[in-house]
């Protein structure tokens, strides 16, 4: 009897303090003011950063791919295409920069596809928040990836002898343009990420779209040597417009027309694919 009593006391005491904590935690019913769309999207951007913090392995591709591409293409093709690797690098680097960032957009789709099947999206969808914010926020997080991979490409380029005439400001403007471009075309991969069943399929289809898009462009060679029909394809390719604009930014010869031209396609993609992505997002899975 006495043993039971002594056993019961600490337990009961703990329960009471816990209960008091619970009661006081539950007593707070007042909701803060509803935040705006930007605040919601920023929180999802923060979530993307936290994910990178906890799972840094996912940045592996972002670091390795650009190093590999820059080094490989410069030394493989440089001598043959431009007479010297340094001359070729001057031409190639803006292109490789664009290609690297464009390839990085694939991860937007792949990551979303893995993420969205998890229970937490049920919570997001049942919360009083700006509906597109989880998607927009995830893409904000991608800005870090894009910027990261472009910084790496530029650094490798500088080490190998790339010298932008416009200096640091040319590089910074280029990165801003790239981020905008990537945000726009990212909606395609967000849509694919929502449409496909597995991350593997998202990856495969993304490559099928991106390989011709980046290679049939002016990234690697001047289209002047190509057959006429291919020239018209290359000149219509939005990637070519982007690369032309970056070359101009790096050389300090850019004008507003070039920038606008390079952003037309991403803008059109956003207009078409962002609403489509929202429909798919709200579709029962």
């Amino acid at each position: 009897m006495t043993e039971q009593d002594t056993m019961a006391t600490p337990d009961a005491a703990r329960d009471t303090s816990l209960e008091a904590a619970l009661q006081s935690a539950l007593a707070r019913r007042a909701a803060p003011r509803r935040p705006g769309a930007i605040s919601n999207a920023t929180m999802f951007g923060w979530r993307a950063l936290l994910k990178i913090k906890h799972v840094p392995e996912q940045l592996f591709d972002v670091v390795i791919t650009p190093v590999m591409f820059t080094v490989m293409f410069t030394y493989l093709f440089g001598g043959a295409l431009a007479g010297s690797t340094v001359d070729y690098l001057q031409f190639l680097l803006p292109g490789i920069l664009a290609q690297t960032v464009i390839f990085t957009t694939i991860y937007t789709g792949v990551t979303l596809n893995t993420d969205i099947s998890k229970g937490i999206y049920d919570r997001f969808k049942s919360m009083p928040i700006w509906a597109p914010s989880p998607l927009v926020g995830a893409m904000l997080g991608d800005f870090l990836r894009y910027t990261g991979s472009s910084v790496i490409v530029v650094l490798i380029g500088l080490l190998m002898g790339f010298r932008p005439e416009a200096g640091l400001s040319g590089v910074i403007w280029s990165m801003m343009l790239l981020n905008l471009f990537a945000f726009g075309i990212g909606w395609i991969f967000t849509t694919l990420g929502l449409l496909m069943r597995t991350p593997g399929t998202v990856m495969t289809i993304s490559w099928i779209v991106l390989m011709p898009l980046t290679f049939a462009s002016n990234v690697f060679v001047d289209p002047a040597t190509m057959p006429g029909w291919l020239q018209s394809v290359v000149n219509a390719n939005p990637v070519s417009h982007l690369v032309t604009a970056i070359r101009a930014l790096m050389a300090g010869t850019a004008n507003l027309g070039l920038l606008v031209k390079s952003l037309l396609m991403p803008a059109a993609i956003t207009v078409i694919f962002a609403p489509l992505a929202m429909v798919l997002y709200h579709r029962p899975r």
Partner: protein, 324 residues
């Protein structure tokens, strides 16, 4: 003025292909109580709850949550509800604290307030020690508690809990029950789905039994049991050797078979008339079979479910619930 009902549905319908997962559900749930939706896997519980939480659009019928139509005013509904899904609705890659701070930020808490509120809840739910660990390393019970904490950053008027204790050990289950009771004491209405009859019995003020997309019974636990119209005599003989003999005596005298429980001394007899119980006890005394204990009670919800559907509740064929 009377409060609007927490939930009111009329002929709610959801089809997946040709399968009518929810086939005309009528519910009328007042505010301020725990309401249990009980049924086996695949009965349509989760689908019903997802429609009420604005995650799925009904294919027919109507549903009002706290006076707002779920199809026409989903945003108004979302402002006042919270959902804890069947599969943990927290982010496994983030820590417990990060999860709560993220959700607090989404709800409009400022940085410092959000952190304070998160820490307050982590303390109340005994998760302080694990707050900086990634959720993937949490035990089932910790994950559930975090999940519920995430649902009450702003204490909602209506909380949906989808099978909150499935897979939990008894201690964690009791903790979850305590939290639910405290929430209701604070004025929140809780709608919980469960396949555990005991849970509905212990926690819910009223219960709807759902089977194959339809409500097949509704009422308090006692009403449901009374509607089956039998009472149950539980007996325990002193010596296991005498159980068979006792079963024979009971069958002779009462004309109904005695069910042999897993406990080798225990027998259960269903009686359609309580007055027959003394007869049974008298017969056993006459036959010289001493009893350790006996009790006369209402049937368990298991037996209720059996009586309503003609099959046991938990050993159902593995019907596939459409997870959407």
């Amino acid at each position: 003025m009377a409060l609007p009902l927490a939930i009111e549905t009329h002929q709610l319908l959801k089809k997946f292909g040709t399968n009518r997962a929810v086939d005309g559900v009528d519910l009328s749930i007042p505010q301020g109580m725990v309401y249990g939706v009980l049924g086996p896997n695949g009965a349509g519980k989760t689908t019903t709850l997802r429609m009420l939480a604005t995650l799925l659009r009904p294919d027919g019928g109507e549903a009002h949550v706290l006076g707002h139509d779920v199809a026409r005013e989903p945003a108004r509904v979302r402002e006042r509800i919270s959902l804890t899904g069947q599969f943990a609705s927290v982010d496994e890659d983030l820590t417990g604290l990060e999860n709560l701070r993220l959700l607090a930020g989404l709800l409009g808490f400022r940085r410092r307030e959000g952190r304070q509120r998160a820490e307050e809840l982590l303390t109340a739910f005994s998760l302080t020690e694990a707050q900086n660990q990634q959720v993937k390393y949490y035990s089932g019970g910790m994950r559930r508690r975090l999940d519920i904490a995430a649902s009450i950053l702003v204490t909602p008027d209506l909380l949906f809990l989808d099978e909150p204790t499935t897979g939990l050990d008894p201690r964690s289950r009791n903790q979850v029950w305590d939290i639910v009771r405290a929430l209701v004491a604070g004025g929140t209405t809780v709608l919980l789905t469960t396949q555990y009859l005991e849970e509905a019995d212990r926690l819910a003020e009223r219960i709807a039994v759902i089977d194959r997309g339809r409500v097949i019974a509704e009422g308090t636990s006692a009403e449901l049991k009374a509607s089956v119209g039998t009472s149950v005599l539980h007996l325990s003989v002193l010596s296991p050797d005498q159980r068979e003999q006792a079963a024979g005596v009971l069958k002779d005298r009462l004309g109904v078979p005695a069910f042999r429980e897993a406990d080798p001394t225990a027998l259960t007899v269903q009686l359609d008339d309580t007055a027959r119980a003394p007869l049974a006890l008298h017969a056993l005394t006459e036959a010289g079979i001493p009893l350790r204990s006996f009790s006369l009670g209402q049937p368990s919800l298991d037996e209720v479910f059996m009586a309503l559907t003609g099959r046991p509740a938990e050993s159902d064929e593995p019907e596939k619930e459409v997870v959407v």
